[in-house]
């Protein structure tokens, strides 16, 4: 996403003033500031740039329910981060841990204005379209702005050699065409992480005709019951991130440092088995974390680090009907490199990943092509 010039970030369009009901309220009602001067510094005294950060005092004056919902919203509170860190033993009643979390993990949260008025502030902000309010968030600038290298780049074919997702290439589908549940964006009723959301979309909601006997050889009972759709239909590698160290440098600036990302494609055991996700085989992606994530702040701040895998359940957004691993039976069967085995996991992370690592004897053996 090309950056905006600084003046572009704050240029208000006439169309906003003429057509958007929010203009009727006047700038100062939401942003504050000083009305009786045209001097830049004096006018901006007491001004709040990021109005959506306090929904109850601004958006919530009219959009009462949405402001109420924002109090528990996953995008705003990053409940997913909190749940995962708590699972790894993070103690949110420990001031040291809370300081570390607050310093390094809260910069990506999104409030009302990050989706409906501006580019996400984590990406430098700037008005999306001259202050016009967008009811539906922009796929590339908003959703794709934050969910970029691990979703948007997959979806539009931004990784060299990997085609775009067919839902985008052929149908031009927007995020909200599948992620339809308005409540899931706003009220955070599902809490926790995104895969905890009982309203999250599933492939079968549209592809309801996929079932044994549908004419596709691999859609037999065993494959459909044991494998997540992405295992066969993800079009290729997707990005994994490794390591993450946080700290404060000599100048007092907070920072994080992660290792270079890698394109990976790994099938493993399902760490999130449930009624909604009953499969044995799923795709896994390494996430940017390690045991020493908060070592700068103290020893052993994540004492239960091994409680969760670092190779996590994932659903790449690069789906195609025909993919390298489903062209023939033996494009997958016998292809050891497609599976996450012990050699793919560093010794210090093996305990955490035991539930997802595939033993060599569990890798499907090659079959005689052309047979049933």
């Amino acid at each position: 996403m090309p950056p905006l010039e600084v003046w572009q970030k704050v240029l208000v369009k006439d169309k906003f003033l003429e057509k958007d009901i929010h203009a009727d309220i006047g700038c100062i009602a939401c942003h504050g500031g000083q009305p009786d001067t045209d001097d830049k510094d004096a006018a901006h005294e007491g001004m709040v740039q990021k109005v959506g950060a306090n929904p109850a005092a601004t958006c919530g004056k009219c959009h009462v329910d949405y402001a109420q919902a924002a109090q528990t919203n996953i995008h705003r509170l990053q409940t997913g981060y909190q749940e995962v860190l708590a699972h790894r033993g993070g103690d949110f009643t420990d001031p040291t841990f809370v300081t570390a979390y607050s310093n390094h993990c809260t910069g990506c949260h999104a409030d009302c204005s990050d989706c409906h008025v501006s580019r996400p502030s984590a990406l430098g902000g700037g008005l999306l379209s001259g202050h016009l309010f967008k009811k539906t968030a922009s796929i590339w600038q908003t959703c794709g702005g934050c969910h970029s290298t691990r979703i948007a780049d997959d979806y539009k074919g931004g990784h060299e050699g990997i085609p775009p997702d067919i839902h985008w290439e052929k149908e031009g589908m927007l995020c909200s065409d599948c992620h339809t549940d308005d409540a899931a964006y706003h009220n955070g009723s599902h809490g926790g992480a995104r895969y905890d959301d009982p309203t999250a979309p599933t492939c079968i909601q549209c592809h309801e005709d996929v079932k044994p006997g549908d004419g596709i050889e691999q859609h037999d009972q065993e494959h459909l019951e044991k494998m997540a759709c992405q295992t066969c239909h993800a079009a290729g590698q997707y990005k994994s991130c490794f390591g993450c160290h946080t700290g404060i440098d000599d100048k007092g600036i907070k920072y994080f440092a992660s290792e270079p990302s890698q394109m990976t494609f790994k099938i493993g055991h399902n760490p999130l088995k449930s009624e909604r996700r009953p499969w044995e085989w799923v795709l896994l992606r390494h996430v940017p974390t390690n045991k020493d994530l908060f070592a700068y702040y103290g020893d052993n701040l994540l004492p239960g680090f091994d409680n969760l895998p670092t190779w996590k359940y994932t659903t790449p957004h690069n789906m195609r009907r025909i993919t390298p691993q489903n062209e023939t039976c033996n494009s997958c069967h016998g292809q050891d490199d497609l599976f996450l085995t012990e050699k793919d996991v560093t010794p210090e992370e093996r305990a955490a990943n035991t539930p997802v690592i595939v033993a060599p004897e569990d890798i499907p053996q090659p079959v005689e092509e052309g047979g049933s």
Partner: protein, 120 residues
């Protein structure tokens, strides 16, 4: 004859007075920027806001959202939001002026540690 002329003049004058009182300039003839943004549009904006709030309440019902606040809007706060807000004319004058913004807008100094690395 004189009396008839006087009556005609009286009729024409009355028509002019009625015309001035009844006919207003069309909406399109009023420049947006010239419209005072606060108290003088309060009632109109309030009507817009009220209908907007009704739409929100309706859509919220679709979402199945429940909240103690959701069912009844604080009308007073909405009215005061519009009516008590000072004029934004100075803000608008600057933030719609591309030339002025190019001259005045400055990016806050980026504070990034030399130790930072990797993708966010």
């Amino acid at each position: 004859m004189k009396k008839t002329s006087f009556l005609w003049l009286l009729a024409v004058a009355a028509l002019i007075i009625v015309g001035i009182l009844v006919i207003r300039p069309p909406a399109w003839a009023t420049p947006v920027h010239a419209v005072p943004r606060a108290a003088s549009i309060a009632s109109e904006a309030d009507a817009h806001l009220s209908s907007n709030v009704k739409r929100e309440t309706s859509s919220s019902s679709h979402l199945g959202l429940t909240s103690g606040l959701g069912s009844s809007l604080d009308e007073t706060s909405v009215q005061s939001l519009v009516a008590d807000t000072p004029s934004s004319d100075n803000c608008i004058a600057c933030h719609t002026d591309k030339k002025k913004l190019k001259k005045l807008a400055k990016e806050p100094e980026e504070v990034k540690s030399e130790k930072a690395s990797g993708e966010g």
